[in-house]
Point group: C2
Chain length 159, copies 2
DNA sequence: CAAGATTGAGTAGTCAATCTTC
DNA sequence: GAAGATTGACTACTCAATCTTG
Protein backbone atom coordinates (compact mmCIF):
# COMPACT_ATOMS: atom_id res chain seq x y z
CA UNK A 1 0.00 0.00 0.00
CA UNK A 2 1.38 3.29 -1.03
CA UNK A 3 4.05 1.61 -3.13
CA UNK A 4 2.44 3.01 -6.24
CA UNK A 5 1.06 6.45 -6.76
CA UNK A 6 -2.65 6.31 -7.62
CA UNK A 7 -1.96 8.57 -10.59
CA UNK A 8 -0.33 5.55 -12.20
CA UNK A 9 -3.62 3.72 -12.52
CA UNK A 10 -6.99 4.20 -14.14
CA UNK A 11 -10.02 4.79 -11.98
CA UNK A 12 -13.21 2.79 -12.55
CA UNK A 13 -14.72 5.27 -14.96
CA UNK A 14 -11.53 5.51 -17.01
CA UNK A 15 -11.00 1.80 -17.08
CA UNK A 16 -14.62 1.14 -17.93
CA UNK A 17 -14.51 3.56 -20.84
CA UNK A 18 -11.20 2.23 -22.11
CA UNK A 19 -12.24 -1.41 -21.97
CA UNK A 20 -15.62 -0.63 -23.50
CA UNK A 21 -13.96 1.20 -26.37
CA UNK A 22 -11.55 -1.60 -27.17
CA UNK A 23 -14.06 -4.42 -26.75
CA UNK A 24 -16.67 -2.66 -28.81
CA UNK A 25 -14.28 -2.18 -31.68
CA UNK A 26 -12.95 -5.72 -31.60
CA UNK A 27 -16.27 -7.49 -31.35
CA UNK A 28 -18.01 -5.24 -33.83
CA UNK A 29 -15.18 -5.64 -36.31
CA UNK A 30 -15.26 -9.40 -35.97
CA UNK A 31 -19.00 -9.60 -36.62
CA UNK A 32 -18.98 -7.12 -39.50
CA UNK A 33 -16.01 -8.86 -41.07
CA UNK A 34 -17.59 -12.28 -40.84
CA UNK A 35 -20.90 -11.12 -42.32
CA UNK A 36 -19.24 -9.18 -45.12
CA UNK A 37 -17.05 -12.11 -46.06
CA UNK A 38 -19.93 -14.53 -45.99
CA UNK A 39 -22.24 -12.37 -48.08
CA UNK A 40 -19.79 -10.99 -50.60
CA UNK A 41 -16.50 -12.89 -50.43
CA UNK A 42 -14.74 -9.62 -49.55
CA UNK A 43 -12.70 -8.92 -46.44
CA UNK A 44 -13.03 -5.55 -44.72
CA UNK A 45 -9.65 -4.67 -46.20
CA UNK A 46 -10.82 -5.57 -49.70
CA UNK A 47 -13.88 -3.45 -49.09
CA UNK A 48 -11.79 -0.44 -48.07
CA UNK A 49 -9.62 -0.69 -51.17
CA UNK A 50 -12.59 -1.01 -53.51
CA UNK A 51 -14.49 1.86 -51.92
CA UNK A 52 -11.46 4.14 -52.16
CA UNK A 53 -10.87 3.26 -55.80
CA UNK A 54 -14.50 3.45 -56.83
CA UNK A 55 -14.83 6.93 -55.33
CA UNK A 56 -11.71 8.12 -57.13
CA UNK A 57 -11.86 9.60 -60.65
CA UNK A 58 -11.32 6.90 -63.25
CA UNK A 59 -11.56 4.24 -60.58
CA UNK A 60 -7.82 4.48 -60.10
CA UNK A 61 -5.39 5.79 -57.55
CA UNK A 62 -1.65 5.92 -57.06
CA UNK A 63 -0.36 3.28 -54.65
CA UNK A 64 1.03 5.76 -52.13
CA UNK A 65 -2.26 7.66 -52.22
CA UNK A 66 -4.20 4.50 -51.51
CA UNK A 67 -1.88 3.83 -48.58
CA UNK A 68 -2.37 7.32 -47.25
CA UNK A 69 -6.16 7.08 -47.44
CA UNK A 70 -6.30 3.66 -45.80
CA UNK A 71 -3.52 4.38 -43.31
CA UNK A 72 -1.48 1.43 -44.56
CA UNK A 73 2.25 1.05 -45.04
CA UNK A 74 3.42 0.84 -48.61
CA UNK A 75 4.41 -2.81 -48.33
CA UNK A 76 0.99 -3.70 -47.01
CA UNK A 77 -0.61 -1.94 -49.95
CA UNK A 78 1.65 -3.77 -52.34
CA UNK A 79 1.00 -7.21 -50.87
CA UNK A 80 -2.72 -6.67 -50.68
CA UNK A 81 -2.98 -5.29 -54.19
CA UNK A 82 -1.08 -8.35 -55.43
CA UNK A 83 -3.59 -10.66 -53.81
CA UNK A 84 -6.54 -8.67 -55.13
CA UNK A 85 -4.97 -8.64 -58.59
CA UNK A 86 -4.77 -12.43 -58.52
CA UNK A 87 -8.48 -12.48 -57.77
CA UNK A 88 -9.27 -10.09 -60.61
CA UNK A 89 -10.68 -7.32 -58.41
CA UNK A 90 -8.07 -4.69 -59.30
CA UNK A 91 -5.23 -4.28 -61.76
CA UNK A 92 -2.00 -2.33 -61.82
CA UNK A 93 -0.82 -0.07 -64.56
CA UNK A 94 2.10 2.26 -64.97
CA UNK A 95 1.98 5.96 -64.34
CA UNK A 96 2.64 7.86 -67.55
CA UNK A 97 4.10 10.95 -65.87
CA UNK A 98 6.26 9.24 -63.24
CA UNK A 99 7.95 6.06 -64.30
CA UNK A 100 8.47 4.98 -60.70
CA UNK A 101 4.78 5.15 -59.97
CA UNK A 102 2.00 2.61 -60.19
CA UNK A 103 -1.72 3.09 -60.47
CA UNK A 104 -4.13 0.66 -58.93
CA UNK A 105 -7.32 0.41 -61.01
CA UNK A 106 -10.62 -1.18 -60.10
CA UNK A 107 -11.74 -3.79 -62.63
CA UNK A 108 -15.31 -4.37 -63.77
CA UNK A 109 -15.35 -7.42 -61.60
CA UNK A 110 -14.21 -5.26 -58.67
CA UNK A 111 -17.00 -2.80 -59.42
CA UNK A 112 -19.55 -5.56 -59.40
CA UNK A 113 -18.21 -6.89 -56.14
CA UNK A 114 -18.33 -3.57 -54.32
CA UNK A 115 -21.70 -2.60 -55.78
CA UNK A 116 -23.26 -5.79 -54.60
CA UNK A 117 -21.51 -5.81 -51.21
CA UNK A 118 -22.05 -2.21 -50.13
CA UNK A 119 -25.77 -2.15 -49.30
CA UNK A 120 -25.53 -5.16 -47.03
CA UNK A 121 -22.43 -3.90 -45.29
CA UNK A 122 -23.86 -0.43 -44.75
CA UNK A 123 -27.02 -2.02 -43.39
CA UNK A 124 -24.91 -4.05 -40.96
CA UNK A 125 -23.06 -0.95 -39.78
CA UNK A 126 -26.40 0.67 -39.15
CA UNK A 127 -27.93 -2.41 -37.53
CA UNK A 128 -25.06 -3.05 -35.14
CA UNK A 129 -23.69 0.42 -34.57
CA UNK A 130 -24.94 3.79 -35.77
CA UNK A 131 -28.58 2.75 -35.69
CA UNK A 132 -28.34 2.07 -31.97
CA UNK A 133 -26.90 5.46 -31.08
CA UNK A 134 -28.47 8.85 -30.47
CA UNK A 135 -27.34 11.89 -32.44
CA UNK A 136 -25.68 13.12 -29.29
CA UNK A 137 -23.70 9.91 -28.97
CA UNK A 138 -22.68 10.08 -32.62
CA UNK A 139 -21.44 13.63 -32.12
CA UNK A 140 -19.47 12.66 -29.04
CA UNK A 141 -17.73 9.91 -31.01
CA UNK A 142 -16.63 12.28 -33.70
CA UNK A 143 -15.48 14.77 -31.13
CA UNK A 144 -13.47 12.13 -29.27
CA UNK A 145 -11.90 11.02 -32.52
CA UNK A 146 -10.79 14.53 -33.33
CA UNK A 147 -9.23 15.06 -29.93
CA UNK A 148 -7.50 11.71 -29.71
CA UNK A 149 -6.22 11.39 -33.26
CA UNK A 150 -5.07 14.99 -33.18
CA UNK A 151 -2.96 14.33 -30.08
CA UNK A 152 -1.25 11.22 -31.40
CA UNK A 153 2.47 11.42 -32.14
CA UNK A 154 3.23 11.67 -35.83
CA UNK A 155 3.55 8.15 -37.14
CA UNK A 156 4.90 9.06 -40.57
CA UNK A 157 8.22 10.31 -39.20
CA UNK A 158 11.55 8.64 -39.91
CA UNK A 159 10.13 5.51 -41.45
CA UNK B 1 -30.49 9.32 -58.92
CA UNK B 2 -33.26 7.54 -57.15
CA UNK B 3 -31.77 4.17 -57.97
CA UNK B 4 -30.94 3.59 -54.32
CA UNK B 5 -33.04 4.31 -51.33
CA UNK B 6 -31.38 6.83 -49.02
CA UNK B 7 -32.01 4.50 -46.11
CA UNK B 8 -29.29 2.31 -47.57
CA UNK B 9 -26.56 4.84 -46.83
CA UNK B 10 -25.13 6.63 -43.85
CA UNK B 11 -25.70 10.34 -43.44
CA UNK B 12 -22.80 12.68 -42.68
CA UNK B 13 -23.17 12.44 -38.95
CA UNK B 14 -23.37 8.65 -39.00
CA UNK B 15 -20.47 8.27 -41.37
CA UNK B 16 -18.38 10.76 -39.43
CA UNK B 17 -18.99 8.92 -36.18
CA UNK B 18 -18.32 5.53 -37.72
CA UNK B 19 -15.09 6.56 -39.42
CA UNK B 20 -13.94 8.42 -36.32
CA UNK B 21 -14.56 5.36 -34.18
CA UNK B 22 -12.63 3.01 -36.46
CA UNK B 23 -9.76 5.38 -37.14
CA UNK B 24 -9.37 6.28 -33.50
CA UNK B 25 -9.11 2.66 -32.49
CA UNK B 26 -6.68 1.72 -35.24
CA UNK B 27 -4.32 4.64 -34.82
CA UNK B 28 -4.40 4.55 -31.04
CA UNK B 29 -3.76 0.83 -31.01
CA UNK B 30 -0.83 1.20 -33.38
CA UNK B 31 0.81 3.89 -31.25
CA UNK B 32 0.19 2.13 -27.94
CA UNK B 33 1.45 -1.15 -29.36
CA UNK B 34 4.62 0.37 -30.72
CA UNK B 35 5.42 2.19 -27.47
CA UNK B 36 4.68 -0.85 -25.32
CA UNK B 37 6.84 -3.10 -27.46
CA UNK B 38 9.68 -0.63 -27.50
CA UNK B 39 9.66 -0.03 -23.76
CA UNK B 40 8.99 -3.54 -22.52
CA UNK B 41 9.41 -6.06 -25.31
CA UNK B 42 5.77 -7.09 -24.86
CA UNK B 43 3.04 -6.96 -27.50
CA UNK B 44 -0.42 -5.80 -26.53
CA UNK B 45 -1.49 -9.44 -26.70
CA UNK B 46 1.30 -10.50 -24.35
CA UNK B 47 0.24 -7.70 -22.03
CA UNK B 48 -3.35 -8.92 -21.98
CA UNK B 49 -2.34 -12.46 -21.17
CA UNK B 50 -0.01 -11.40 -18.37
CA UNK B 51 -2.54 -9.01 -16.82
CA UNK B 52 -5.22 -11.70 -16.82
CA UNK B 53 -2.91 -14.27 -15.23
CA UNK B 54 -1.44 -11.90 -12.68
CA UNK B 55 -4.91 -10.88 -11.49
CA UNK B 56 -5.98 -14.48 -11.15
CA UNK B 57 -5.44 -16.46 -7.92
CA UNK B 58 -2.14 -18.32 -8.04
CA UNK B 59 -1.19 -16.49 -11.22
CA UNK B 60 -2.79 -19.26 -13.21
CA UNK B 61 -5.87 -19.81 -15.30
CA UNK B 62 -7.39 -22.56 -17.38
CA UNK B 63 -6.83 -22.15 -21.11
CA UNK B 64 -10.50 -21.90 -21.98
CA UNK B 65 -10.96 -19.32 -19.23
CA UNK B 66 -8.13 -17.23 -20.59
CA UNK B 67 -9.72 -17.41 -24.02
CA UNK B 68 -13.06 -16.34 -22.63
CA UNK B 69 -11.59 -13.35 -20.80
CA UNK B 70 -9.55 -12.18 -23.79
CA UNK B 71 -12.21 -13.03 -26.36
CA UNK B 72 -9.85 -15.32 -28.24
CA UNK B 73 -10.47 -18.63 -29.96
CA UNK B 74 -8.95 -21.65 -28.32
CA UNK B 75 -6.44 -22.18 -31.10
CA UNK B 76 -5.27 -18.62 -30.81
CA UNK B 77 -4.78 -19.07 -27.09
CA UNK B 78 -2.83 -22.23 -27.68
CA UNK B 79 -0.54 -20.75 -30.31
CA UNK B 80 0.11 -17.62 -28.29
CA UNK B 81 0.77 -19.48 -25.08
CA UNK B 82 3.25 -21.67 -26.96
CA UNK B 83 5.15 -18.60 -28.14
CA UNK B 84 5.11 -17.04 -24.68
CA UNK B 85 6.26 -20.32 -23.17
CA UNK B 86 9.25 -20.32 -25.50
CA UNK B 87 10.11 -16.86 -24.22
CA UNK B 88 9.78 -17.95 -20.59
CA UNK B 89 6.90 -15.61 -19.74
CA UNK B 90 4.37 -18.32 -18.92
CA UNK B 91 4.33 -22.08 -18.46
CA UNK B 92 1.74 -24.80 -18.88
CA UNK B 93 0.84 -27.41 -16.36
CA UNK B 94 -1.78 -30.09 -16.15
CA UNK B 95 -5.05 -29.74 -14.36
CA UNK B 96 -5.27 -32.19 -11.46
CA UNK B 97 -9.06 -32.52 -11.50
CA UNK B 98 -9.62 -32.68 -15.26
CA UNK B 99 -7.04 -34.59 -17.24
CA UNK B 100 -8.08 -32.89 -20.47
CA UNK B 101 -7.41 -29.48 -19.04
CA UNK B 102 -4.34 -27.26 -19.02
CA UNK B 103 -3.41 -24.41 -16.74
CA UNK B 104 -1.40 -21.48 -17.98
CA UNK B 105 0.80 -20.07 -15.23
CA UNK B 106 2.70 -16.82 -15.13
CA UNK B 107 6.42 -17.30 -14.42
CA UNK B 108 8.56 -15.02 -12.28
CA UNK B 109 10.01 -13.63 -15.45
CA UNK B 110 6.47 -12.94 -16.66
CA UNK B 111 5.69 -11.17 -13.38
CA UNK B 112 8.73 -8.99 -13.72
CA UNK B 113 7.82 -8.16 -17.29
CA UNK B 114 4.26 -7.11 -16.51
CA UNK B 115 5.25 -5.24 -13.34
CA UNK B 116 7.76 -3.16 -15.19
CA UNK B 117 5.60 -2.64 -18.28
CA UNK B 118 2.30 -1.69 -16.64
CA UNK B 119 3.01 1.83 -15.33
CA UNK B 120 4.30 3.05 -18.68
CA UNK B 121 1.45 1.50 -20.59
CA UNK B 122 -1.18 2.85 -18.26
CA UNK B 123 0.42 6.27 -18.53
CA UNK B 124 0.24 6.02 -22.31
CA UNK B 125 -3.44 5.09 -22.22
CA UNK B 126 -4.01 8.15 -20.06
CA UNK B 127 -1.81 10.42 -22.15
CA UNK B 128 -3.35 9.47 -25.49
CA UNK B 129 -6.88 8.58 -24.51
CA UNK B 130 -8.66 8.81 -21.17
CA UNK B 131 -6.73 11.85 -20.05
CA UNK B 132 -8.03 13.83 -23.02
CA UNK B 133 -11.68 13.06 -22.34
CA UNK B 134 -14.26 14.58 -20.01
CA UNK B 135 -16.13 12.44 -17.52
CA UNK B 136 -19.20 12.85 -19.68
CA UNK B 137 -17.33 11.53 -22.71
CA UNK B 138 -16.03 8.58 -20.70
CA UNK B 139 -19.55 7.75 -19.59
CA UNK B 140 -20.86 7.95 -23.14
CA UNK B 141 -18.21 5.48 -24.28
CA UNK B 142 -19.19 2.95 -21.68
CA UNK B 143 -22.85 3.43 -22.49
CA UNK B 144 -22.20 2.95 -26.21
CA UNK B 145 -20.22 -0.18 -25.47
CA UNK B 146 -23.04 -1.66 -23.45
CA UNK B 147 -25.60 -0.99 -26.15
CA UNK B 148 -23.51 -2.17 -29.07
CA UNK B 149 -21.94 -5.25 -27.55
CA UNK B 150 -25.27 -6.25 -26.09
CA UNK B 151 -26.90 -6.17 -29.52
CA UNK B 152 -24.25 -8.24 -31.28
CA UNK B 153 -25.24 -11.70 -32.51
CA UNK B 154 -23.91 -14.48 -30.34
CA UNK B 155 -20.51 -15.42 -31.67
CA UNK B 156 -20.04 -18.51 -29.55
CA UNK B 157 -22.76 -20.45 -31.34
CA UNK B 158 -22.13 -23.50 -33.50
CA UNK B 159 -18.38 -23.16 -33.69
C1' DC C 1 20.39 10.04 -52.40
C1' DA C 2 14.85 10.78 -51.91
C1' DA C 3 10.65 8.86 -53.43
C1' DG C 4 7.75 5.17 -55.23
C1' DA C 5 7.14 0.68 -55.16
C1' DT C 6 8.07 -4.57 -54.74
C1' DT C 7 9.93 -8.68 -52.45
C1' DG C 8 11.12 -12.07 -48.84
C1' DA C 9 11.52 -13.52 -44.20
C1' DG C 10 9.45 -13.75 -39.93
C1' DT C 11 5.39 -13.41 -36.84
C1' DA C 12 0.24 -13.63 -35.92
C1' DG C 13 -4.44 -15.23 -36.45
C1' DT C 14 -8.11 -18.40 -38.54
C1' DC C 15 -10.04 -22.54 -39.80
C1' DA C 16 -10.40 -27.41 -40.00
C1' DA C 17 -8.64 -31.69 -38.42
C1' DT C 18 -7.07 -34.32 -34.66
C1' DC C 19 -6.29 -36.28 -30.06
C1' DT C 20 -7.57 -37.24 -25.41
C1' DT C 21 -10.60 -37.33 -21.62
C1' DC C 22 -15.24 -36.60 -19.68
C1' DG D 1 -20.28 -37.85 -28.67
C1' DA D 2 -18.98 -33.34 -26.69
C1' DA D 3 -15.45 -30.56 -24.07
C1' DG D 4 -10.65 -29.10 -23.63
C1' DA D 5 -6.85 -28.44 -26.01
C1' DT D 6 -3.06 -28.82 -29.73
C1' DT D 7 -1.40 -28.88 -34.46
C1' DG D 8 -0.75 -27.74 -39.39
C1' DA D 9 -1.92 -25.30 -43.44
C1' DC D 10 -3.20 -20.99 -45.14
C1' DT D 11 -3.70 -16.04 -45.16
C1' DA D 12 -2.38 -11.41 -43.48
C1' DC D 13 0.76 -7.80 -41.66
C1' DT D 14 5.50 -5.86 -40.46
C1' DC D 15 10.07 -4.92 -41.08
C1' DA D 16 14.21 -4.59 -43.62
C1' DA D 17 16.37 -5.05 -47.97
C1' DT D 18 16.17 -4.11 -52.73
C1' DC D 19 15.30 -2.05 -57.21
C1' DT D 20 14.29 1.78 -60.19
C1' DT D 21 13.50 6.48 -61.39
C1' DG D 22 13.39 11.51 -60.04
Amino acid sequence: VGAVDDADWLDDREQGAWRAFVQTYLQLNAVLGRELLEESGLSIQDYGVLVALSESPGGQMRSFELGRVLGWEKSRVSHHVSRMTDRGLVARHKCPTDQRGAFVVITSRGRKAITSAAPGHVAAVRRYFVGLLTTQELDVLEQIGNKVVGALPDTSAAE
